[in-house]
Amino acid sequence: MKPATTRAWAVVHTWTSLVSTVFMLLLCLTGLPLIFHHEIDGWLGVAAPAPLTAGAPASVDTLAARALADHPGRVIQYIGWDEHEPGLAFVILNATAGSHPNDSITVNYDAARAEKLGPASSALMQVVLRLHVDLFAGLPGKLFLGAMGTLLVAAIVSGVVLYWPFTRRLAFGTIRPRRRIAWLDVHNLMGIVTATWLAVVGLTGVINTLSEPLIGRWKATELDAMTQAHRGEPAVAANTSLDRVLATAREAAPGMEAAFIAFPGSGFSTARHYGVFLKGSTPLTSKLLQPVLLDAGTGAVADTRTLPWYLTAILVSQPLHFGDYGGMPLKLIWAALDIVAIVVLGSGLYLWWTRRRSAGAAAFALAEAR
């Protein structure tokens, strides 16, 4: 690589990193407890699911009625079933069916006994989650973090390119003793072994920041087309049994289990339809949701079709971002890699800062590596 080329990549690496580092540090630090949100919420006395009672789950109508009685003044937007805890149902309530998700509350219920267990997450973890997802700034906050994530990916790519000129005269894993050079070598070593993981977590995070506009697009196109055939028919007030809605939806998607019901007027349905989202049973097919739209008045199936590729991409990218799909050992690995990423970010900042004070040190390290 010509020195001019190396310099150009170094400029890309320095500036993409510098602009995004503060936010990436925030994301790594808030992401660390979020890996264990289930366990932390458990320690904080939240959401401990009751032991499974044998037998069939309670009627969903009973569950919905209980939830409404438990939360006067609110309506149900969604009822869902926990991915990891069988027997655990969650109910998402809000002021109106169409109210913004940030104003909703999520309450856990024992699915077998239709009994309230408590809020689905602690106040602390909700704050950490909002910091991680949108900096308490809604969609603009999400898109901003998405842009920072894109810079991170650029920093990783340029970092991998620079790995060659900086280490080509060194055996893999060499850490030279002088303090600043040692940090440079540690930065290079930690960066190169975690590059793929961090790129995957970064990219899947960026994909997730686009979920709101993509869901909007799905509603405007696919969901709209799904209800086309029934447009103009007089709307019937929602009086159908939820259990019947669920059973009908299962018949329309054989072999699949319900993931959640979106109530009429909520984010994943229309004003006059229930949206029942069903999932498969393997780790991958459980991410491939099949929506069935049912008339809220008659309970009849309006239409069902697979999700478009862009929503499937979001759903499949989520476990790859969260690291919640391989048991506790995978969570621990996720945490360790996250801590390594924090050291890479911190050492990068240190290297930039000390180079500002002793100009030419990087050039020196480079010369020494040649």
């Binding site: 003793p177 072994v193 995978l330 890699l337």
Partner: protein, 58 residues
């Protein structure tokens, strides 16, 4: 080029294999992912320990 990127390329392949195995295979997937994704961490730990030991001999 080949020498410099041999181990990083191996780590990258193992990382992708580890990330996908738990997603695609129900039974064997998670243990494979732990092993594969553990490699970059073990590699790192080994080189850091080696550095620490050499700095304080004895």
């Amino acid at each position: 080029m080949r020498r410099v990127f041999a181990i990083p390329a191996l780590v990258a392949v193992l990382t992708v294999a580890g990330l996908l195995s738990a997603l695609l295979f129900e039974e064997a997937g998670p243990p494979i992912s732990w092993l594969a994704l553990g490699v970059p961490l073990l590699l790192l730990a080994w080189h850091l320990l080696r550095f620490a030991r050499r700095r304080r001999p004895g």
